[in-house]
């Protein structure tokens, strides 16, 4: 038995942030949209109200909001000469699962990338000469920050983002980030308040001549009605944020910001617990005619559509393109092909310190509660005498005080068990504080994605294989920014400092502080080096759009979500304003 569904104007594969933003734009423009989500329906009152949300074991330790590996995992190796292994257990990956996707459990750090990120190849060459980028696959995104600004603005309004502007139309504003790209207006809601540690970090970095600011947050600071008419409430600093849903409608998410409006539109249909297996092309291979799916009962079906939008997690976007035969697999030996190319991660470190005689009260937290300096991020500082490009955001953060997660955050030399552990944890829990160094990641030739030859998912389809290790540029960058962070921790008075520079060891998914997995179906103006054009339209199959962090040709020193959201708004508007009137390539290759 197979299911043949009525044809839709648009089928959306995956209902996380990207899928929700796309569906909202496209249904508002009058298109008939069907979204297919392999997880279940999830909403605030039914699934994570305040009576069940503050539960570390369930949501953080056991990760009940994340995609289980038994549903689908990836395989991994550092080098092409190794045999990849499947990631069997929970790791740093936080793939989205259920309606809302990763937008339900994310931390909420709500960054725009810098103008330099979007034009990394051009600006690096112009400022430092072409040799500065040797060994890296630097390429511009095909859009500039200026192009992106209206879409960033739109997504921030939907999300209710809190923050303080540093640059409005070129005018530098006190208290904000003076390095950010020019904004057309301030954030929708004011910045969150400082915790003890944020205040100490702010004052220390200010004394050192840096420019501290409260980071933009998807934890909103006051009640807000977004442009879709959905009301959000103020964050209560509960500290059960990333990995958790939000029971207060305070964390920007599809549930809190979009679904209440989207679900009521008569031209929107959602299929839950139904997994898209791959897109199906017409016989001529030039366009897709819909997607093949399978229900949780194991019944296969077909959803015909004029336009196919792939909005799964970054890894699955790449995998769905490969499983659908859209575009050519990248070959790291010849450099040919584009699908799987320019895979990057997030180059991170931490610097923890302890404050005797103080109560840091780490349980007062928010997923995006932090003060940051961007003085060493992107190209905000002169790299002429340095052996790298890029940089990192350096933040003093107060995300959580979850006791299981933090049980090894102890002064150096402490034991992990026995009375000695109890004594150490009783002493250190309320005295610890941390700096997070979130760095850029540059694409190189042998960091890429393809299909694994050995391992398969529950439906028998090949898993995605990652080949990746830290490159020398990013190692050099992290060494430099970690050293700056140690200086700040010392100035702030932190003692017994513990440093973790993640790039000092070979990369593997179990060791990472960040979950940000980027690229593999990247955007660009050149079809020989990008999978999708600047509107996220496949160069090869023009009625397929691939939306997500898979489109980033490199990774900035920031969390990806707001850039994902802005790109989704832009792609959706290109579809309903231009593509539907004249289907075909939106950009000449």
């Amino acid at each position: 038995m197979t299911i043949e569904r009525p044809k839709a104007d648009v089928v959306i594969c995956g209902l996380g942030w990207s899928g929700s933003v796309m569906a909202e734009e496209l249904t508002r423009a009058g298109l008939n949209v069907v979204a297919i989500e392999r997880g279940a329906w999830r909403d605030t009152s039914t699934d994570f109200p305040p009576a069940v949300d503050p539960d570390e074991l369930r949501w953080h330790t056991r990760r009940e909001l994340l995609q289980p590996m038994s549903v689908e995992t990836t395989t991994f190796r550092n080098r092409m000469d190794q045999t990849a292994a499947p990631v069997r257990n929970w790791s740093a990956y936080q793939f989205g699962w259920n309606v809302g996707g990763a937008g339900t459990h994310w931390a909420g750090m709500s960054w725009r990338f810098t103008p330099w990120d979007f034009e990394i190849a051009t600006q690096t060459r112009e400022r430092y000469g072409a040799a500065k980028g040797d060994g890296m696959l630097l390429q511009d995104w095909g859009v500039t920050y200026k192009d992106m600004e209206p879409y960033y603005d739109r997504f921030e309004r939907i999300a209710g983002t809190s923050g303080i502007a540093g640059n409005i139309n070129g005018e530098i504003k006190p208290g904000g980030n003076p390095f950010e790209g020019p904004r057309s207006r301030d954030y929708p809601t004011p910045p969150l308040k400082d915790t003890f540690w944020m205040r100490e970090f702010r004052e220390a970095s200010d004394r050192m001549g840096y420019n501290p600011f409260t980071i933009p947050a998807g934890n909103i600071s006051q009640a807000f009605v977004n442009p879709l008419g959905v009301t959000m409430g103020p964050c209560t600093y509960c500290g059960f944020c990333d990995f958790h849903g939000c029971g207060n409608f305070s964390k920007s998410s599809p549930q809190a910001c979009i679904l209440p409006a989207l679900m009521r539109r008569p031209n929107f249909t959602l299929l839950t617990e139904t997994e898209v297996l791959h897109a199906v092309k017409h016989d001529d291979g030039k366009t897709a005619k819909g997607v093949k799916f399978i229900t949780k009962e194991g019944v296969e079906g077909f959803q015909p559509a004029d336009i196919v939008v792939i909005t799964a997690y970054q890894m699955d976007n790449v995998r769905l393109m490969l499983l659908s035969g859209i575009g050519e697999q990248y070959d790291p030996v010849t450099g040919k092909g584009t699908i799987g190319r320019n895979y990057t991660y997030q180059t991170c470190g931490t610097v923890n310190g302890f404050f005797p005689d103080k109560y840091t009260n780490p349980f007062i937290g928010g997923g995006a509660l932090a003060v940051q300096i961007d003085d060493f991020n992107g190209d905000n500082f002169d790299h002429s005498g340095l052996d790298f490009i890029g940089g990192a955001g350096i933040m003093g953060y107060s995300t959580n005080g979850r006791p299981i997660q933090n049980m090894n955050n102890l002064r150096p030399g402490s034991k992990r068990w026995g009375s000695a552990w109890k004594e150490a944890y009783a002493r250190d829990y309320n005295q610890g504080a941390g700096i997070f160094i979130q760095g850029t990641s540059m694409p190189v030739r042998d960091a890429y994605l393809d299909l694994d030859p050995d391992y398969r998912d529950r439906h028998g389809q090949p898993l995605l294989r990652l080949t990746f290790d830290w490159n020398q540029n990013d190692k050099n960058m992290l060494k430099y920014t970690v050293d700056r962070s140690v200086e700040i921790m010392r100035e702030a008075g932190g003692q017994d400092i513990v440093v973790d520079n993640q790039a000092e060891h070979s990369w593997n998914p179990y060791m990472q502080h960040s979950s940000h997995t980027i690229g593999g179906a990247v955007m660009g103006a050149d079809p020989t080096t990008s999978a999708v054009n600047p509107f996220l339209q496949s160069w090869d199959v023009h009625n397929v759009f691939v939306v997500g962090a898979s489109a980033f040709p490199m990774n900035g020193g920031y969390n990806p979500t707001v850039t994902v959201g802005a790109l989704a708004v832009r792609a959706a508007q290109a579809i309903h304003q231009t593509y539907v009137n004249n289907p075909g390539p939106l950009v000449k290759g």
Partner: protein, 243 residues
Amino acid sequence: MKRRDLLRSFGAAVTTTALASPSAAAELKGFPTQTAMSPDHLPKPAMKGGAFRVFTQENDRKTLAAVFDRMIPSDKFGPSASEAGCLEFLDDQLAGHYGEGRALYLEGPVRPETEEAIMGSPQFTQTPRQRYEAGLKALEAYAQATDGVAFHALSPDRIDEILAGLEEGKIDLPNGVQGKWFFELMLQNAREGYLADPIYGGNRDMAGWKMIGFPGARYDYRPYIEKRGENLNLVPVSLIPND
């Protein structure tokens, strides 16, 4: 009402209010009208007062208690792991999705050396429940072979010595049990039980939270955020409703 009754009544609510979950619908049009808690999303409290379901053999329980109570002994910082309910916690965890490895990818091919080299630590295709079944038996066999007594009959100092040897990878256990990694599993679970919400059977009287000064399942710190660096003296609360 006693705490155990409360736990049971919370669990009973699951069955009496079990309505069709909106998530079961393949096709959703319009906003779901069902806005009460999804039955499958209510917390599942630990079974209290009944028999152990996974650790059904007394000797296994004694071995586990001997390990857990050296990892978390009774002292001036709080009760021991077993006094705090960590055995009941783990039994309940192993009886459920965690124990059966529901989230894990367990498909082959299995290449242990390759996987360990690539991932930096071993991966397992046994479930946590299977690892405990094998691991506790291996600990007992080790004690019988080296000391000629049951593991739980060893002195605290001797248990500490064995645990340190396991932690450092200097002791391997019989029957292919990798001692270092079984130690890590037990240490993780013992401390989970000590620090998780009491609704899961451990952290009795919120002893683990009191030890470190964690206020528990609170949901609003707006009145406190500007008391920077101060001792807030907040009494912890759990997901178990107060009387």
